[in-house]
Assembly symmetry: D2
């Protein structure tokens, strides 16, 4: 299969948190997610329409940041092809067996140090009893709790060397670049689309000198109205709102940026009105002048958005 | 003051339920309301932006139906004026002192037997601690639970003699008739507006031969999108949906009709995009041909909507 | 009648524009309003559910700003009572006969010089032919054009002396103060409610030393989603967006501020989910610390919002 | 490439109409689409975010119905592979050169007689001047006209033999079956997904004895609120509403069914909150009992929905 289409979707993200209990409470009570399993220092959670065992793993740690993230591939063959390609680049860590939600996975590092896994075998979530939805085509019951997030949407990482990230992503892993920021011939950010969603992963330039930093993780709701309701819920529950709700010019995402108690930036968004169905979609390029206009409706990007990332823990580097 | 403006708004409704605990659970967990007080066989509840002690009283009873309802008047003077006028018509029951949420009230019967109270003194709800909203102009915190109903909206009763009801309402109590159904010179229903909302009370014809029947009680949400979310929450929780979501031609109300476990019909609606600001608004009259078109977008009215009302308990008659 | 309730609603606003044709195009093509009449240098416009002949009069002038605005009273008697009270304060200008949309009006000045009229007789708009709505309770057909604004909502003026404005409004004209900003015992802004809407008029402090300045005029749409769509329409048509969409902490208004081609600030909002039904509502007071928090979800108020008003033309002063 | 992923998306549909001018007016003024080209008896139209030259071709004809429809493939190689496979089945018609919006196409018949084309080369739409969107990632400017449909969403055909259709679709053309109705082991309908959208094509059983019939063509809007606004626009413009707005249990589509003046059924929907990202998604099967429950919130399916299809013109059979 063409390398473009070998990844199926962003599967899950492991976030590290110095306040595990409070983080769990945030994702379950405020975002409306459910716990699939608690295992040692880690909790596995999913949104009501995530079809897998979990889309979020929360692990207790002295710092916030990202532990690892995972792509599900389109097939077992795709998984093996990609593992081989990564190995050839010398970025592979190796195969691991998982018992919690998914099967054999190939672990590796992205050029900026972020740890990632590829896998195909998935122990899909089977809703039972009170968790079963009245609609057979929904993974589990609409919770009617907090922000009612529907599914994992995308991940945004920071990286020092965008060119290296880009070459690795599209030359070795797959996907296509739906949008990019280029200032004076230097790429500053790229958006990776692997299916009809316009992106599952974004990487933006890190000016801090650090490696493997996390910018934000996004959960999707069904409508812009629900993003507005989420803002009220954040306000009413003392959750810090960094910026939004507003509409990004890039990708047209209607966004709301929050911080979970562990210190990781979380976005609530409604990005799916826009889809990329065009199989040879031409990358949209944003230049400096265009970026200076701010967000879609003119909101200036808050400074912290450009600078604040969550460092990768030393022992993972 | 002009009689038109002496009533301020529909204040609360007492519903009778043979399943008090299940009814309480329905209104708190599904609708997202809170309990202000439990007193003997009655529970007092309010929606998050209801400013009074309660807008709903649930009382255990062997049948479902309405116990009483209440109007708050615009002033103490209005209360006394209206009490006098009712007394003169011979429909008065008398003054009562309340300790639960409101002060001295004048009790009386509408011509079809429904028991009603007028009062002015209100022990307004003071949100404290975790119930306090981050927005000073909201009565209490947005719950983020179930349907998140905002406030009581309106009440719909059934009556054998619409003319008698109409004459009593507008000749003795106050308000103005925003809309009416007239078939062959016979009024079949009237909508009573006492403020800028286009109605707080509706009365439609009862063909059953019974008296004092209840049709439905409505709670408002902020948007039509939230009515759609409410439909999903009803579906996911096994709540019977009688009809909707759809838009009434009459009053343009975007509606969803449910049944609470005690057997009373409850509407979730978003009716406030429409306001009547015109002080000499001319009543909108609907004839048979117009009603035959069904609801705004052509949905046929379900048969049960025309026939099913909740009887008034014998001992209250 | 109690002075509180003698005004029915904000009826219309006359805006001055140095670009009459472009302003007309803005309000008809972008906002979706209709022209009721053109008369010399003035155009009379209405939103699709405005029940009167016009809610906006656009008059050609070398500067932008407000010409006059008008309240409709609840009755002819209210009109006469208020005219007498104003006369006694020495702020009256006198009675005028209008042929364009409304009858005999009493003209006067607010303490900061703004010209205002009171009237009761209204030549209500009668939709005919293609302008007739399929819904009998809508003033005219939903346009399906541009932002589809529904009705005039409120007016915001600037005044040097908020205390004088407040005393005149509530002591002579009527209404009640739903919200106010007070810094160190000095009122900085007041919000005037005359019906169940939480405000029809706002007055905020003018630091410029000028008199009779205009801040903004607001048209309402039915939902927050339509405010978001309006933002896209503004963006697509080169209309300057000053700030928004976002939610005001004050009054909870979901706002979008634009400039029409003549230079007047126009707001598109969805303020009616909140109503004040409480007849003895206690004014919400905002202090400096609370205002420093910015808008409801934390957006900082743009500087121009505090400083930019449209001056009153010299010859009207 | 795996056959599953060789089709990229539903590209365009040709509808026949006995009232070409009125049909053009409907799609441009009511739906808000634009004309790309008029060529003889055909008009080519697109929604504002359709990236190709057209998604709808309207052709004058004495009857309503479907002329042909087209899939765009993921690559030139996919096109050639599929053409070969069809040829082997004996259902091919042959290659054609198009000058109007797309390049070399392979024409063939589905088993029930519907004419279809596959192509890869596309003359993508380049918005210029006033049609250019302020957002670089939108194909053209948001129109602010009528229903503002965003893009073509899906097509529903009728067929006598669902098994034959299914075998041809998944055995020869590609895609996967996201949902199906099966009564007593007999398939009654299938939904074809070729990308992350849960379907681009649906085929339901035809009981009429006719061949090649058309059921409906769907355009997507961004939100459920816009579907509700579309219902009002239909109502205000005398467009017949067959059923809706409501939510399908199947696929969760929030729907509104209309008829265009030529007699073809058109759906306005907001189906994209649901995506299928799972690469080995298991087909959802609906049985008779489940279908008897009606739509998601209990609305009974209107009878005409089961019976009314638009016949294929004789000369095309």
């Amino acid at each position: 299969m063409n390398i473009t289409w070998e990844l199926a979707h962003l599967a899950h993200v492991e976030l590290l948190t110095p306040k595990l209990d409070e983080s769990i409470r945030f994702f379950t009570e405020i975002l409306g997610m459910s716990i699939s399993e608690i295992n040692g220092d880690s909790a596995y959670l999913r949104a009501y329409d995530d079809y897998e065992h979990h889309s979020l793993k929360l692990t207790a740690h002295k710092h916030s940041g990202i532990g690892h993230f995972a792509w599900r591939t389109r097939s077992q063959e795709s998984l093996e092809n990609r593992a081989k390609a990564i190995e050839q680049k010398g970025l592979g860590i190796g195969w691991e067996d998982h018992e919690c939600g998914y099967g054999k996975a190939y672990k590796f590092r992205y050029p900026d140090g972020h740890i990632c896994e590829l896998y195909f075998e998935s122990n899909k979530y089977k809703a039972e009893g009170e968790h079963k939805s009245a609609l057979k085509n929904t993974a589990s019951k609409f919770p009617g709790r907090g922000m009612n997030v529907r599914r994992i949407d995308h991940l945004n990482l920071l990286a020092k060397d965008i060119v290296a990230f880009r070459d690795f992503q599209f030359g070795v892993l797959g996907g296509r670049m739906s949008e990019t920021i280029i200032f004076d011939d230097e790429p500053k950010g790229i958006w990776v689309s692997v299916n009809s969603k316009s992106y599952d992963l974004a990487i933006t330039e890190d000016h801090s000198g650090l490696s493997g930093r996390f910018h934000h993780l996004t959960y999707a709701v069904n409508s812009r109205e629900e993003v507005l309701l989420a803002a009220d819920i954040a306000l009413e529950n003392g959750v810090f709102i960094e910026t939004g709700p507003h509409k990004h010019a890039i990708q047209q995402t209607f966004f709301l940026y929050l911080y979970e108690p562990g210190g990781n930036r979380i976005e609530i968004a409604n990005p799916t009105a826009r889809l990329i169905l065009d199989p040879d979609y031409e990358t949209v390029v944003w230049n400096r002048e265009e970026r200076m206009k701010g967000q879609a409706w003119g909101l200036k990007t808050v400074e912290s958005f450009h600078t604040r990332g969550t460092p990768m823990p030393e022992e993972l580097l």
